[in-house]
Symmetry: C2
Subunit: 340 residues, 2 copies
């Protein structure tokens, strides 16, 4: 007995039955006498036994576990997403397992994901949700759902929000308030979501007949710190913007930081709009006007799809869009005509 814990054999021996019988009790099979089952259950409780996830999955190919592959469990977007996933998954009495790998070499992210998928594939989880995947295909016929994938068209179902449309709405709001010089801080441009948000920015300007000034677009990476630097560059140039459209709430917070450093007030001196509507955006000062992308609902939807796939039901459509909605708070202000 090398196993550090209690195995099914220990239970069988203690209960005076065979391993098979214990297994039957564990899985609520028919063929077992009530009193035998009761005795086995008592022993299981006494010994504090639980079947090994690994061994069970290896043999029976079904684990009642949904896996989530992420690069970082801590980021608010991901953690909110997991909340949405967890609720649906728990309601179906599936367990949730989030996996983050240390061995991550940036130049081969797609391969890294493939590895993670293969590692959990079939033996640990019944289905997998991959968050912001780089790859568009995995070598497996396995329930997989992507959330916010890099690639536009994936082989597996994907859940995305209407990124372009969301920014478009926000921009129209700013334009309606009279802003014409609107700065833009991009997200990580290797992400599909960032590209589409930038698309929304450009489309809105075009529709409004405002020429795009390259000096007003700065590249960010969704992080607060990078955004701070980007905002400083935007705001210290000769002809600074009167409003900044940020590609994420974190990015918007970076703008807040920069404004504070420059002694600018929001919204009096500068209007700001974020994207995501993470929890913090309601409680910052001033409360941030932002585009809600219903992250929890995205997670819930992804979970529903993966559970459907697990149960063998086909997935009707490949791309599932979750609509966005502009949440107006207090970080924007109408601009008075500069010449009046």
């Amino acid at each position: 007995m090398q196993h550090t814990g209690v195995t099914i054999r220990d239970v069988a021996r203690a209960a005076g039955v065979s391993v098979s019988t214990v297994s039957r009790v564990l899985n609520d099979k028919e063929d077992v006498a009530p009193e035998t089952a009761a005795a086995v259950r008592r022993v299981i409780e006494e010994l504090g036994y639980a079947s090994s996830l690994a061994a069970r999955g290896l043999r029976s190919r079904t684990t009642h576990v949904v896996g989530v592959i992420v690069q970082d469990m801590w980021h608010p977007f991901i953690s909110t997403l997991i909340k949405g996933i967890n609720e649906v998954v728990a309601a179906h009495s599936y367990d949730l397992l989030a996996y983050a790998s240390a061995r991550r070499n940036v130049e081969a992210l797609a391969q890294w994901e493939q590895q993670q998928v293969a590692r959990l594939n079939g033996t640990i989880a019944d289905g997998i949700i991959v968050v912001t995947p780089h790859a568009a295909t995995y070598r497996t016929a396995f329930p997989i759902v992507a959330v916010d994938p890099h690639q536009a068209d994936t082989e597996f179902p994907a859940v995305i929000s209407t990124n372009r449309q969301g920014v478009l709405e926000a921009m129209n709001y700013l334009l309606g308030l009279g802003h014409r010089r609107i700065g833009f801080i991009t997200g990580r441009m290797d992400l599909q979501s960032a590209v589409r948000r930038y698309d929304g920015y450009r489309s809105a300007l075009q529709e409004a007949g405002v020429a795009l000034d390259p000096a007003l677009v700065v590249e960010g990476d969704y992080s607060r710190e990078t955004a701070r630097g980007a905002a400083l560059r935007l705001l210290t140039q000769p002809h600074p913007p009167t409003a900044i459209m940020a590609s994420s709430d974190d990015t918007a917070f970076g703008v807040y930081d920069a404004a504070a450093e420059l002694g600018m007030r929001i919204p009096e001196d500068l209007s700001v709009i974020g994207f995501d509507n993470i929890a913090a955006s309601a409680s910052v000062n001033p409360p941030l006007t932002t585009v809600d992308q219903f992250i929890e609902r995205m997670g819930a939807l992804a979970a529903e799809i993966v559970l459907k796939l697990i149960q063998g039901q086909p997935c009707e459509s490949r791309v599932h869009k979750v609509p966005t909605q502009l949440v107006i708070r207090q970080s924007c202000r109408a601009i008075e005509s500069v010449h009046s």
Copy 2:
């Protein structure tokens, strides 16, 4: 071939070698010719193969994975903790696996945890960190570390913060500002941390020679919504407190909500102190004075201990305390003498 993905056998067949050889390549063993290894590696990459975590763990009893058992991955405390854990774990090139179970019956939490531990035990993870465990002992000789356990003395190493001391400091700050009627909203009193924070409240009053008024203590559960109700009760009574010590930042936010409803300004009409120093506490309005318990460091410490245990090193002490620190921001104000 029932496996939905690629197995070691597929790799062996494709590379024209035996399964054993592939295994040797995978584990960087000595006895394999460089060109053979290269060929195998090429096939592995072509097929997108990765060894199954389950099978590998089952056979070799070492997985290079640290497991974290939580009830909810979403809560800021837990998610921050995971961030701290992840950094240390990744630095040692271990993978991180967070597990949340759906089958949770509240009356038998300790047994539920035992199940989770047994489930991951040995075959999936090399060591386990249990967050806010209910049980004080598990039936296993396995690297286990607890963070913020319910029980005061556990059989396994535990990481806690100096909860009592933290509240004591905060209270002394409030008392120093002249406050005498200080309300207290407790945490979930079944948690060790909540009890110790309440201890700190009582000790501070006693040391200062202020009698404890039971009307100023209301039970909460660390949640914002419950705290809102609790704060409303505190603030609408005949002789309301001039300051509220909240058992967590979320609790303090609930106090903010209640104050807003009642038209009270913070800190002009009411001083508030929180506990945790989660990210949001710096960006609320006004920025919250709170007790930083260095959640990330707690996670990092837990990870270090569990890695040490995995490597067979003994753990010198059972209880590891992470010191707290009062972070003074703008939610408190000195009280003018009511009679002047």
